[in-house]
Amino acid sequence: MTTATTPTPAPSINPMLVIVCGCLIALIAFGARSTMGLFTAPITEANGWGRETFALAMALQNLIWGMAQPFAGAFADKFGTFRVIIAGAIIYAAGLALMAIADSVFLLMLSGGLLMGLGIAMTSFSVIMASFARLVPPEKRSWSFGIATAASSMGQFVFAPLGQAFISGFGWQMALLLLAGSVLFMFALVLPLRVSRGGVARDETELEMSISQALARAAGSPSFVLLTLGFFVCGFHVAFMTVHLPPLLVQEGIDAQLAAWSVGIVGLFNIVGAYTAGIVGGKYSKRYSLTLLYLARSVAMALFFVLPITPLSTVVFSACLGLLWLSTIPLTMGLVTVICGTRYMAMLYGVVFLSHQVGSFLGVWLGGRLYDQTGTYDTVWWTGVALGLFAALMHWPIKEVRAPAFSVPGGAQV
């Protein structure tokens, strides 16, 4: 039976602390994993493995992250963000610590793949943003999603030099243990987010329902399905570009230094893009913003490939790509909130995110496979352009209102 929830008084929370601590948790979760590339050489050399072995562990990590995200979200929805982040931090830290002593491929897959993947799912921005959605007033939600995404992205700037410093100063094994220690710092940061479910001001327009009901209703909502299909493309683009853009640039005659810096340019502009997307999502239509965003990705990719690839075009393209990089996240998260409400948003965003991770896998795999078969990135590049147009088409018809299955009859919609 479904009934409307009764409003409860807003809890006593410190807004500044909630935002800052939430952002820092997301930063640590993203940052620690972004250092994994630094460990490729020392770990593989110490154990006599090929680099592909380490890459496989990281691929497994991403797959586990994607598959675990809906479950992590469901736990967060059911038992609260606090508990999930505490458990996630322990698992994440255990993964890093175990990786330090991994002397077999099985242990590497278990630590760097399974445990880290689970830990990331339980501590990443998805869980943080769901917490923000419940604690932050509706008019500030989109902004809070933007700042959380941007802070996550900044994790690379903090942890890349730190990870390198740890490796240089103390060796790769101690570096992993120090990273594990920094992940445990989440224990302190999660305290301001510790608000009991009953203490959170509830949305009167939301229905009380079970997890399975929420999943079934989301699956029956055309807008939710379209959003999920569209987010697949984001994963495809991001993963393909992360892995294949630098080698592609070098193949096209761009200096290896600039190819490497292009990655940095994407990262820098991504922060601007993610934060701005949060602001835009709070003021304008999220679905139109996403439609334009995917359209812009396709146009940028097509122009870059059609025009001569020069150092200037590389820099401009990297900047555009950065602006359009993770800017999909605040808008997508915002739409999940609008369509399905905040009650099960962590889990439902997890479902959308799973589609993203499938796209990620295909982006990397297909990019490599087609390159090996044809010797060029042409086919997969144009596939990316076409998928961008497909995503734009998917987002256009989304209804930016609470889905009927999630709203109280006659209730106002947020």
Partner: protein, 125 residues
């Protein structure tokens, strides 16, 4: 209840960048090799120095350039006599580092460590 806005975001991002700079300074400190060291190492010269100057300074320090890296002014070099690291610094290097790889990292939902990409960016010899 007043919720924070752009000011808080700006302050937070600035603080994160400061921590990032501190991390980089820590790396510069911890990654440095002792002046007596010889062998293969990264020589970091001021980015303002031309490649010809960098090349000449490595030779004068008693080493040989192995290959440039993606970081400006940073070369993988080799010197087989003791004190090579110290001589590099005496010849204008900011420092000599053993550090293997300083990869540009992209925070994304997919941080796939591709062997091909790692090979491209690694400062390893």
């Amino acid at each position: 209840m007043k919720w924070p806005g752009h000011g808080t975001a700006g302050a937070l991002f600035a603080a994160i960048l400061l921590v990032s700079l501190a991390g980089f300074a820590l790396f510069m400190h911890l990654g440095r090799v002792t002046p007596e060291r010889s062998g293969t190492m990264l020589a970091v010269f001021p980015p303002s120095m031309t490649e010809t100057e960098v090349f000449a300074n490595i030779i004068e320090a008693g080493g040989r350039p192995v290959r440039p890296t993606w970081m400006p002014g940073t070369w993988v070099t080799y010197g087989d006599t003791a004190g090579y690291a110290g001589r590099l610094e005496a010849h204008g290097a900011i420092g000599a580092y053993t550090s293997a790889s300083f990869l540009p990292q992209l925070a994304g939902c997919f941080a796939f460590v591709d062997a091909k990409a790692v090979q491209l960016f690694t400062l390893d010899q």
